[in-house]
């Protein structure tokens, strides 16, 4: 216990704790929507496109996350618009965006004179260096996401389930879809700091799929995901301390471990239930 109370005396540990909490809530909620609506690949596209913005911001001497926000938002809105038009193959356009974003990022980082930023921290996250102002932004976005889902829970669920039906009832489907894709873009950019570009996808999919093993209820999946995400992040952080491995990779590895263990437990539960029902 003394070990933990000792840890909290360090600001960076407090920051990491809060950052994990915020990011678990943001990813738990948005990820449930993403997984349910089968938008994981879209989110991957947005995530990687935002790297283009990070590179460009380095070159122009701006805050890297300003660039990431611009790229994430424009790619998110672009994907939503394209899928609405439906006349370009959706997955292909995401693939193009995905690779183009990474290429732009690398080119700009390369031509930025006399400066080599720590690219690894953007690829794999750096939860231990989250700053005060970044925490404020995370906290604010957490409140916005909670508020949005609390206020519009039913429309969000119903429109995601059957968009065409909702449109046939003249429900404001586009307004909700565009708002959500903007929130997803912002959520992704914020979480690049914690999990990194490569691994932010796992934060949005692993806890949700673990939760989905034990529940088919949208609301329950949200709550379970947040809990799994937070526990996994904390355990991953602890693991990264003790083993001296990078925090982002350690967190995601922990989340994956939780998923696979749960999957095995679930297989055994199902098997037991089957035998019980046969007796």
């Amino acid at each position: 216990m003394e070990f933990f109370s000792g840890l909290f005396e360090y600001t960076f540990i407090n920051h990491a704790f809060l950052a994990s909490l915020f990011s678990s809530i943001i990813c738990g909620i948005l990820g449930t929507y993403i997984v349910s609506k089968r938008m994981v690949f879209i989110s991957g596209g947005i995530t990687h496109a935002s790297f283009g913005g990070i590179g460009m911001a380095f070159y122009l001497g701006l805050h890297p996350f300003a660039g990431a926000v611009v790229f994430a938002l424009s790619s998110a809105l672009g994907i939503e618009w394209i899928s609405k038009k439906g006349n370009i193959r959706n997955d292909s356009s995401i693939g193009i965006l995905w690779s183009l974003g990474m290429a732009i990022g690398i080119i700009f980082v390369y031509i930025t004179p006399g400066f080599t930023p720590n690219l690894m921290s953007y690829l794999f996250g750096s939860i231990l260096t989250v700053s005060n102002s970044e925490l404020w932004v995370m906290g604010l976005l957490t409140l916005i996401v909670i508020g949005f889902f609390w206020a519009f829970y039913r429309p969000i669920l119903y429109f995601a389930f059957d968009e065409n039906f909702a449109k046939s009832q003249k429900a404001p489907v586009n307004l909700i879809n565009y708002s959500l894709i903007i929130l997803i873009a912002l959520g992704i950019v914020i979480n690049i700091k914690v999990a990194g570009i490569i691994l932010v996808m796992s934060m949005l999919t692993l806890p949700q799929n673990t939760a989905n093993l034990f529940s088919n209820n949208f609301k329950h999946i949200i709550f379970y995901s947040i809990a799994i995400s937070f526990v996994g992040t904390m355990a991953g952080l602890a693991g990264s301390f003790w083993l001296g491995i990078p925090s982002g990779a350690s967190i995601i590895f922990t989340l994956a471990l939780i998923f696979f263990v749960s999957k095995i437990v679930k297989i055994f539960i199902d098997k037991n239930n089957r035998t019980a029902s046969l007796l």
């Binding site: 349910s36 089968r38 006349n87 519009f152 039913r154 429309p155 669920l157 119903y158 429109f159 995601a160 389930f161 059957d162 065409n164 039906f165 909702a166 449109k167 046939s168 009832q169 003249k170 429900a171 404001p172 307004l175 909700i176 989905n212 529940s215 088919n216 209820n217 949208f218 999946i221």
Partner: protein
Amino acid sequence: MNKPLIDIKNLNTGYGSQKALDNVNITVESNDFIGVIGPNGGGKTTLIKAILGLIPVWSGEIVSNLEAAKIGYLPQFNPIDKEFPITVKEVILSGLAGKKGLFNRYSILDKKRANELMEQAGIAKLKHKNIGHLSGGQMQRSLLCRALINQPELLILDEPSTFVDNQFEMELFEWLKELNKEIAIIMVSHDLGTISSHVKTIACVNQHLHYHKSNKITPEQLAHYDCPIQIITHGTVPHQVLATHKH
């Protein structure tokens, strides 16, 4: 005379540059029961989507004298994501999505109406079940309840009897007959034999639309309408299957 519910004039529409409907005219009056038949890819679902405002109209017009959200819609079964984490009750309440908009709460009355519909459809026990656990017939019942919860004046069904058991099909047609006393119904089917005894009129859609104001239609008339569908008479084996006709 009452205004028609829907009046479609010289409608042209399609997908991308591909025309699916050419100069279509049809009027839907209250208490109509129209069976929409035609070959696969002939534009049956396109017509439905145009009426529902899901695809843009290229030219012509669709005049609707219905309030928004007063069209009940039972979409085709296949595109529905059966793994989506949503319960039967939630699916049915989602039929109020248009009426409620973004800010209105779902009242006790709404939930009561959902319960009544589930009782009527015989799916009350499945209320809290996830849709992934339903059979085809149970799923169609849930979707029909969703289409009815907002008390529509026009009900549009796209292939309601795919993936369902015979018992549900019979119950469905009984229910529709009852509903048709109050509201108009448009039902798409690829199977003329199943629907002809239940509908009042038949619309043959194969890019063009020929409106046949009776539920009796002969193969010669179908050929004349350029509507090559297979007619399967149900009943004694062997089934009588007429060859498809072309001019």
